[in-house]
């Protein structure tokens, strides 16, 4: 438990390794367990889990590595996923359902359907994406808890 002047209830982070499909979803399911234990509402928990899972998978599919950070206070759950990946050239295009740049071998594994960012947007109350081509992408998701 972490407490500071902004009354942060809980925070932590996970490292995500790019290409590590054997451990795909582990960070998200671990976070889901953590949030469930502190009593996050079922529907909000589900939305947070889905958005987080998609963000985690984007790191695994496209980046070399990334970090998933979470912060919970009385008002909101904030999840920040930052990666060292290729970046997104056209974020609006990437938000289009079905649009994907994933290679064929990723699709054969059941990923790369082009639903990741749309699923994040559907499930988060706020979604911010910052990306620099050749450097990486930062996704910030907020679920309102109040």
């Amino acid at each position: 438990m972490v407490k500071d002047k902004t009354q942060k209830i809980l925070s932590g982070s996970f490292n995500i390794l790019g290409g590590d499909f054997s451990n795909s979803g582990i960070a998200s399911t671990e976070l889901k367990s953590i949030l469930s234990k502190i009593g996050i509402d079922g529907k909000k928990l589900r939305r947070a889990s889905i958005a987080t899972f998609e963000a985690e998978m984007n790191v695994i599919i496209y980046a070399n590595a990334g970090t998933l950070r979470y912060e919970v206070d009385g008002r909101e759950l904030k999840i920040t996923v930052q990666d060292m990946g290729p970046g997104i050239e056209d974020i609006n295009l990437a938000m289009t359902e079905g649009y994907s740049t994933a290679p064929e071998w990723v699709r054969e594994m059941g990923w790369g359907a082009g639903m990741g960012l749309p699923n994040m947007k559907k499930n988060a109350d706020e979604l911010k994406i910052n990306s620099v081509v050749g450097e990486g992408t930062t996704v910030e998701l907020v679920i309102n808890l109040s």
């Binding site: 979803g25 589900r46 939305r47 899972f53 594994m109 990923w111 359907a113 639903m115 499930n123 309102n144």
Partner: protein, 125 residues
Amino acid sequence: MTLKDIIDTLKAEVIVDCNNISRTIKCACATDLMSEVLYYSISNAILITGLVRSHAVRTADVAEIDAVIFTKSKKPDSETIEFARNKGISIVVTPLSTFAACGMLYEKGLRCCPEEEMKEKSGKG
């Protein structure tokens, strides 16, 4: 229909029994694309898939699915079984293809899960 009804209809083998086979199942999602699983509003549901990988069950956990039906007699590895057991997700294996399994369940009245309804999402119209 209950999960037991589904198991009987599909002539399936129970690999992981999480004591929920008497639970009523309201809908099904049939796909090998994991993001599709997350797209639908899924409670009291099953996932029917030919993708016998651990991340299919992790996706089922995130989507809060009650049971995963693997088709064409494909059985999961021990890691997947252990994860499912820990998360309370039953795993069932049917010899039928995904198409046949869906058809038989549709005949028995099981329908597709609806798309996610976001009415309860705060601040969104």
